[in-house]
């Protein structure tokens, strides 16, 4: 009989190994899946994970795809560390895109270095406003932030839809539901000539470093971690839980808003109904896959971005349906959660036999 037994102490090794195991198990399941579909599994894996980035253009596209996910996920890592479950990055992203976009649309003919920063800041504020409402509800009415943030995702989406179908419509756009193109001074500068890699990537990497400093090298970061580990202890130490709730929610919301405005002022260039194909949700998976660690999140983001692009490639090269992408993302999260059990638990043979240490590799 195999039995789960508490380890007593978190296994640090397992905490790092778990995402790797999850990835390997996903690949293994993929191999079985492809074989049973009669597709050469090696060819399929190459198509999924290598073909999309087999040239410079592919690599730069990965960076474009990763930018919004990375910004959202790095923000979520802060709030999740405090054990506050902000599921609303998607809505905060859309609000950031909307508020920043509205400002950009007022400044279509404006020129000057100040236009883009103003647009960006408006986007950040839009995201902060949206997460701030959820924080307010949590602090003052003890509302469950999982529910409020999820619900506010839908509200944000519908406000955006109302905007692009109504007052924000391009007056010269034949009534099509999209805004006018932003003016040049409101658009993100391109970092690498001839590609779509834009300034948002630099902001994303900056955010990663900033969050790392905040969480690992500041007293506030220490407070956030303590409050996440033991709320009671944090209170006894005099940490202000309410302030930290606001702070973490505003950081994650502001960054999600930044992701949104980077996307519309970056590769899209206008407000459209489909700003995000679910970056805010993908970022949740990424944050956990990266162990809420800034550098882990960078790796996880690129893996997730690669999965999206690989899914497109699989349709082109192998004729596999889009569902494959969702399947792989789902498997990755599923295996990660399963493997994470072994951070706090280990497997033991019950009964007379001696515990076999080899079983650890089961994870």
């Amino acid at each position: 009989m195999i039995k789960l037994e508490p380890r007593g102490e978190r296994s640090k090794a397992m905490a790092y190994a778990s995402p790797v195991f999850a990835f390997l198990l996903t690949v293994l399941t993929g191999v079985i899946l492809f074989s049973s579909l009669g597709i050469n599994p090696w060819h399929a894996l190459v198509t999924l994970f290598y073909t999309p980035i087999s040239d410079v253009y592919g690599l730069t596209e990965l960076a474009v795809k990763a930018t919004p996910i990375l910004i959202c996920a790095i923000g979520l890592s802060v709030v999740f560390k405090a054990q506050i479950w902000n599921i609303g990055a998607e809505g905060q992203l859309l609000m950031g895109a909307l508020t920043g976009g509205v400002v950009a649309l007022q400044l279509i003919d404006a020129e000057g270095f100040w236009v883009l920063p103003l647009v960006m800041i408006s986007g950040v504020l839009g995201g902060m406003l949206w997460s701030g409402i959820a924080a307010f509800l949590k602090v003052h009415f003890n509302s469950n932030e999982i529910l409020t943030t999820i619900m506010m995702n839908y509200i944000a989406l519908n406000i955006l839809l109302w905007g692009v179908h109504g007052p924000l419509k391009d007056p010269q756009g034949f009534n099509f539901p999209e805004s006018a193109m932003f003016g040049d001074s409101a658009l993100m500068p391109i970092l690498i000539e001839g590609t779509r890699v834009h300034f948002g990537l630099a902001l994303a990497l900056l955010a990663v470093v900033a969050i790392w400093v905040l969480m690992s090298h500041s007293f506030i970061g220490f407070q956030i971690r303590v409050i996440g580990m033991d709320h009671g202890a944090a209170r006894l130490s005099g940490f202000k839980g309410k302030h930290l709730t606001y702070l973490t929610m505003l950081i994650s919301g502001g960054l999600a808003g930044l992701a949104g405005i980077s996307e519309v002022a970056g590769p899209i260039g206008q407000l459209i109904p489909s700003v995000s194909p679910g970056y805010g949700y993908a970022a949740i998976i990424v944050a956990f896959l990266g162990r809420l660690n800034p550098f882990g999140i960078v790796l996880a983001t690129f893996l997730m971005g690669l999965l999206y692009m690989g899914g497109e490639m699989a349709q082109i090269e192998l004729g596999l349906p889009l569902a494959l992408t969702n399947l792989f993302q789902g498997m990755l999260l599923f295996y990660l959660l399963a493997c994470d059990v072994f951070i706090n638990f280990r497997l033991r043979w019950s009964g007379p036999r001696k515990p076999a240490s080899a079983l650890r590799t089961e994870g």
Partner: protein
Amino acid sequence: MNRRHFNKLLAGIATGALAATFSISSAFAADPLKVGFVYVGPIGDHGWSYQHDQGRLSAEEYFGDKIETTYVENVAEGADAERVIRNLAKSGHELIFTTSFGFMNPTLKVAKQFPKVKFEHATGYKLSKNMGTYVSKTFEGRYVAGYVAAEMTETNKIGYIASFPIPEVIRDINTVQLALNKYNPEAELKIIWVNSWFDPGKEADAANAMMDQGVDVILQHTDSPAAMQAAERRGKYAVGQASDMSSFGPNAHLLSVIDEWSPHYIHQIQAVMDGTWESKAMVEGMKEGAIVVPSFNSAIPADVVANAEQIIADIKSGSLYPWVGPLKDNKGELKVAEGVALTFHELEQMDWYVEGINAEIPK
């Protein structure tokens, strides 16, 4: 065939060793033309993308192993579209159809980067040397539907579920009103905007709201069969849109106006094979087999069916064209002078209702 191989070889030498090996090997085996399709929805939507995919399948059946088709479904009209189209072009597709309005700017961008590849964009208005457009004259079918509705209504109230107030939709509403003006001036059109191309819930609500007001024939410019099903439940009539919806309401279904893309796809693929393809704005209707009314409900009296078929024949022969003046707008202002026929280009910019419509276009 020889000429094509020669062209291929040239292209191969130009684009590098990989392509060259491909065309040399193709000298031995019959070399299929690779054709790519980009869909905005899932192929299972039973509406817009489904019909395009049916067209793709017909082309595959028609050409057999002379072509190889690839589709990418559910492509967001945001930052992802450009990459998908580019990857199709890069992977050796020589003709690429992008089937939604939102793909216009991304298609144009990629077309500039791949001058040897042919692109066709559905429903847009931008052309380039290697990018053409295609669109069908849905209003022709709408006129037939308007006539049948005019004859079949008993309450003289006809419902119209509309998607977005873009020129194409307004033009089609107007065309129905023109048919009503001619065949049953007593009948009144009731329009509900659902602001979506595909939202079964809203479409069903709209259908029920109309029937509560006494509407007994429902037309729609949205893609789901929800209104058809609602009409079937309440013993009223409805007209199917885009695909054959008779199975969703055997009694309610008067007729369906089908977007038949097969002839266009087959014709254009052949043109690329023959080297006669050229970039142009193609407008196709009943004459070209792009708009089809395959069947009529047996509840429609024989003389009405005969008249409807006569209308179809007249539209095909060109002797009937609804958009000839004198035409007034619904405020009484003369918009088209006597004897003047509106061109398709003018119809594409329509932003006024014709005489008889008791409503305002939402702004």
